[in-house]
Symmetry: C2
Subunit: 135 residues, 2 copies
């Protein structure tokens, strides 16, 4: 994030909107990593209705590559949003499910989805006007 090559690193903090925000170790940045990635949010939404297996998720999200499907699942599992369960059948099947943390985050995500739907037209309009007047 920042090289700060040579600094003692005394946990620099800036005040924004009445909030102490750490530049070096920011909770919001951590969460934004999960909301900002291309597939993370969609993945959590895809598990909203219940556990799904790898190939089910692949069909649910046709545009994702195996590589990104695997990586997204691993990242979300790592941060505790979802749990991975292996059933030792043959061939093996693996199930992914939201954890309590993931379900809690899902609420936030639904607010975001709702807000997006309500204001998308407004955003598109602003963009159009800006682009017309701009160049």
């Amino acid at each position: 994030m920042n090289t700060t090559a040579g600094k003692p690193e005394g946990s620099r903090v800036i005040m924004i909107d009445g909030l102490a925000i750490s530049v070096d170790d920011c909770p919001v940045r951590d969460v934004l990593g999960s909301v900002g990635g291309k597939w993370n949010s969609l993945m959590i939404l895809s598990l909203a209705e219940g556990p799904r297996r790898f190939s089910q998720l692949r069909r649910l999200i046709p545009d994702i590559s195996q590589r990104m499907l695997t990586q997204t699942l691993r990242d979300l599992q790592r941060d505790g949003y979802l749990a991975r369960t292996v059933f030792p059948t043959k061939p093996p099947s693996v199930e992914y499910a939201l954890t309590p943390l993931g379900r809690s985050f899902l609420e936030l995500l639904r607010s975001l989805v709702r807000w997006s739907g309500e204001h998308h037209a407004e955003i598109r309009a602003a963009r159009r006007i800006f682009d017309e007047n701009g160049v």
Copy 2:
């Protein structure tokens, strides 16, 4: 995200969590662009308490480069989150302020900030456990 510069693109839609999500023209993706960018969210939070001028913002967010400060402001202005007002003094001064849309989005952002604070420890813990057991 998508140029839309030539394809008929019959608006492919997938159903997730009871929601119709367009792959080609997704409201959530548009908003996630603003929440996901490295500086966008922080910029909106920085304008929460009132209008700020360019150099004020630079001091508020010491780690940002001029380039990214300019670009972040332009992107957010383009999408209608903030308004830019030029005062023809000399040297000129420029003021940035949240629009109603920006203030509406700010509420969402504050939920995100609150949630992040409340669950950061949990996330860090999950991460630690995963990394230990992993390799």
